[in-house]
Assembly symmetry: C2
């Protein structure tokens, strides 16, 4: 990235940086294109409510004097820490509605500044919401905590952004929770190492957020979730420090790290982690395989996923996604396969995977492409690749920015993602598509849904669905909720998980509550009370109480 | 296995089957060989106290009438469920001391028979110890529960031994917790599938035991712990059923399955699990690399572990282990590398790994050996391979039987295992060896210690140590305890985990308590009370309360 993160202004209502929001004329043109592509008529351009005209309640509490220097109740701070970044969040902020905004935003720059804030919050009955990049798409960071709390403190961790220790012999780094992957990789890059984890949010999201939400990253197989890259964690709870030792593989009791992974802030504030890093890849190869039949493509992916070849990328785009992402326009489904290695050529692996995929009537019009980078080359991160893979990756990173445009144009746009076994997939997929289409038709008159696989396992894929529907201005949230609820209900009814890597937050609670064992919720609540007796940590996500 | 498990008599005091214990003359010869090899003088043969001459207290409780048909208080049942199988367990049973034997042994054959037993135990204050193959080496299944309980019920799960459901499309099977890997693979073998998980205990240990203890299995890299093979679990707690859905990869909250994995019976009785199974390998290849320098060998293994090649086997034997296992007698350390695949040749991978290893002054005198098996061939399980790998594997499976002989000969023999980062390894290894040698010298006058790597990760190895020392008859337990305590203390002091795959139980508690976060213990205790309010489940292992 040519522009350092810190000097660019973030949008006060939408995804990412303000300079990425097109002007009105450009959006009007995009509206014509999008309307024609999707069949949505009469899309018009609206403008966001300026922040100084927004509705936001007055702060209800004052920061404690011992921490006043870290704290702010400025409008910009409170508004920018009010929501995550899903469609509902954006539409509320776009409309100038900053409901349940935090009363205070604290920005510690050292871990030592955090415990006094937690002590104060526990004794004063103030809810504390750990806040990283603010990229939650499931209502994971908002102040909708009910009347039990006197106020809400948003604890912004982005000031804790350093790589504290590097063990290059063991390929491990101790990293503060507020660091982003670009920040981490700038620090590691001089050693030829990198954290290979690039979720769609990676420009902004933080390591602590990844761990708290069990994010899904770079690899389509094997090390898919951040969980697998976590070798040790350090979390500040209201009852003190919870720190595990950095270990390559322990079998001593239930894994404490796995309790931290996915805890969504309810147990404490993750402040550091030991993370498994890797040598930057030198050998890379990729191929795009086109399929006339989506079900053939699915079978091909299953065969690759069960082959043990473990490609770094194994993303299947259905025909609609392939077209939207400009990698195929003939109704083909497209599988993007890629391998990478820092130590040996991967051509044989790529050719083996390709042979498996093409055996299911897949066509590889451009053949495999192989590249060797030199050690001194800059890390390509998530933006590398060529051909279909390059188009796909750029579209992948631009997609959240497109959401801003959709909000302005009156298009409801959101995603949901899951994982399900191969055996269930065909009926699951058909059922999900049918139910979400029906919900869009009822709520919006029409709508489009598409699917890709983001990650694949020997036992099943992780399908990722995108839906787009024309909004009725003023009724967007109700419409969105109807579709989103239908999607969550369908996913869990039909045997999937309510989330593969977006987390639970508030949005997925109703269906998460149906999915998880009731006794696990009881156990987790009890564990939470043991480390957070006053129940101040991010109340409302994941569990009650 | 030619003889079905069920028709062979288990030793009443030692490891495994009674017919594997050599007669007195054979043991005397083994004593001469072992004494000469180890430098232990004057080893003599002792005989086990017959069961009918053993010391065992009378049962303190009667089974509930509703479950009486499942229950027994017969001497053989109570004695055979009294201990696991570490050195201390064997010496106590050999000496006829059955301390804290369970009062009742229940053998359910259906899951429905279990809940009434848990209800009764909760209301009567009876401790319940889930019991699988009885192969715990860390005091995980014994009745040393204190005076708080009126009695102890050992719940033998081996009657729940069936594969209930097979989803071959997704490579998943729903399997009862009391099944052994041989039983499971007999059921799966006709479908060309197998559970590739072969701990040293695999003839006897059960799936539920593997999950409860986070066992380490077949693969040296990637899918090392059973955790990675668990797609869903079902556990009966005193408060009801805890069941997760079978999913290829969920990111919804902290993983409930990961709370079950390693729970060592304190949360409930694991009754079933969905397990990731695999196609039986067809392509296999292996190579043995000899190193004059152990530290060169360690560096070679690190390079292989960080290469991304992920061999199925990557076991490094130090010179003493290589000699004891008869794979090298010239003071070399030996690395056994193996790859396997059900779908494509692995020769290129093996050659790449071999090239990495030999670059560290490794010699591969026999070259790589490649084999292709046909689909109809019987699964080779843990007994396959050729050359050094075959010798090693046979010795690996015989080792626990050798422990029986050691007990009879007055040789203290035990193991401990851990995982530690590559950076720490050299100092760790030196420190552990020095401290355990010093402890053996003080307790026994002398002793031998050796090391192998059982599993390796990009961030560190899992070293496995074996120690042998001459016992003083009658003082064995005190001597063993002195050595074992020194080992556990050294492992945790020097930055390792108290266990990579043997679990915590009672034996590892003091050092586990130093290793795990105090707040994790509090959270786990609270979680336990939420599902087991009376605290009946396997009290004393893992945590207090």
């Amino acid at each position: 990235m040519s522009t350092p993160t810190s000097t660019r202004t973030r949008s006060h209502w939408g995804w990412g940086f303000a300079d990425r929001f097109p002007d009105g004329a450009a959006r009007a043109n995009l509206g014509k294109l999008l309307g024609a592509r999707l069949g949505f008529e009469g899309l018009s351009v609206a403008e966001p409510v300026p922040l100084d005209a927004a509705t936001i309640r007055e702060p209800r509490i004052q920061p404690p004097s011992h921490s006043a220097a870290l704290c702010s109740s400025a409008l910009t701070e409170r508004a920018s820490h009010c929501y995550g970044k899903n469609y509902r969040d954006l539409i509320r902020a776009f409309s100038g509605r900053f409901e349940n905004a935090p009363d205070i935003v604290a920005r510690p720059t050292t871990e030592a500044q955090i415990a006094p804030l937690l002590d104060w919050a526990s004794s004063e009955g103030v809810a504390v919401i750990p806040f990283g990049g603010g990229t939650s798409v499931c209502g994971g960071v908002e102040g909708d905590v009910g009347d039990r709390y006197r106020g809400v403190l948003s604890l912004d961790l982005t000031g804790l952004d350093r790589v504290l220790e590097l063990d290059d012999c063991s390929r491990l780094a101790r990293i503060q929770a507020g660091a982003t992957v670009p920040q981490i990789n700038r620090a590691l890059g001089t050693h030829g190492l990198a954290l290979r984890h690039y979720p769609q949010s990676y420009e902004l999201a933080t390591l602590g957020g990844y761990i708290a939400t069990r994010s899904g990253g770079h690899y389509a197989t094997l090390y898919t979730h951040i969980d697998e890259l976590v070798a040790g964690t350090r979390m500040l709870t209201p009852s003190g420090v919870f720190e595990t030792r950095c270990l390559p593989g322990s079998g001593a009791g239930p894994s404490p790290d796995r309790l931290v992974c996915g805890s969504e802030g309810i147990l404490g504030v993750i402040t550091e982690a030991w993370i498994r890093i890797q040598a930057k890849p030198i050998f890379r190869g990729q191929a795009s395989v086109h399929f006339s039949s989506f079900s053939n493509a699915v079978e091909a992916v299953r065969a690759v996923a069960q082959s043990g070849l473990n490609p770094a990328n194994c993303r299947l785009l259905d025909p609609r996604e392939a077209a939207l992402n400009m990698v195929a326009f003939d109704g083909s489904a497209v599988l993007i396969l890629a391998f990478e290695s820092a130590s040996q050529p991967i051509e044989a692996l790529l050719r083996q995977a390709l042979a498996i995929a093409t055996a299911y009537e897949g066509r590889c019009p451009d053949g495999p492409r192989l590249r060797t980078t030199r050690a001194g080359d800059p890390d390509e991160g998530a933006s590398g690749g060529e051909g279909a893979a390059k188009s796909w990756r750029q579209a992948f990173l631009d997609a959240p920015y497109l959401l801003n445009v959709c909000v302005s144009l009156g298009v409801i746009a959101d995603t949901f993602e899951t994982a399900v076994t191969w055996k269930r997939f065909a009926a699951f997929h058909e059922g999900v598509i049918a139910r979400v289409r029906a919900a869009m038709k009822e709520a919006c008159g029409m709508g489009r849904i598409s699917c890709r696989f983001t990650h694949v396992y020997p036992d099943g894929p992780a399908p990722y669905y995108t839906f787009l529907a024309p909004a009725r201005r003023g009724a967007e949230i109700e419409q969105w909720m109807a579709i989103k609820s239908a999607a969550g209900k369908a996913v869990v009814d039909l045997g999937g998980t309510i989330t593969h890597h977006h987390a639970v937050g508030r949005v997925h609670r109703p269906d998460y509550d149906r999915q998880r064992p009731e006794l696990f919720a009881r156990a987790l609540s009890a564990a939470r009370r043991a480390v957070d007796p006053a129940g101040i940590m991010n109340p409302g996500v994941l569990i009650d109480g």
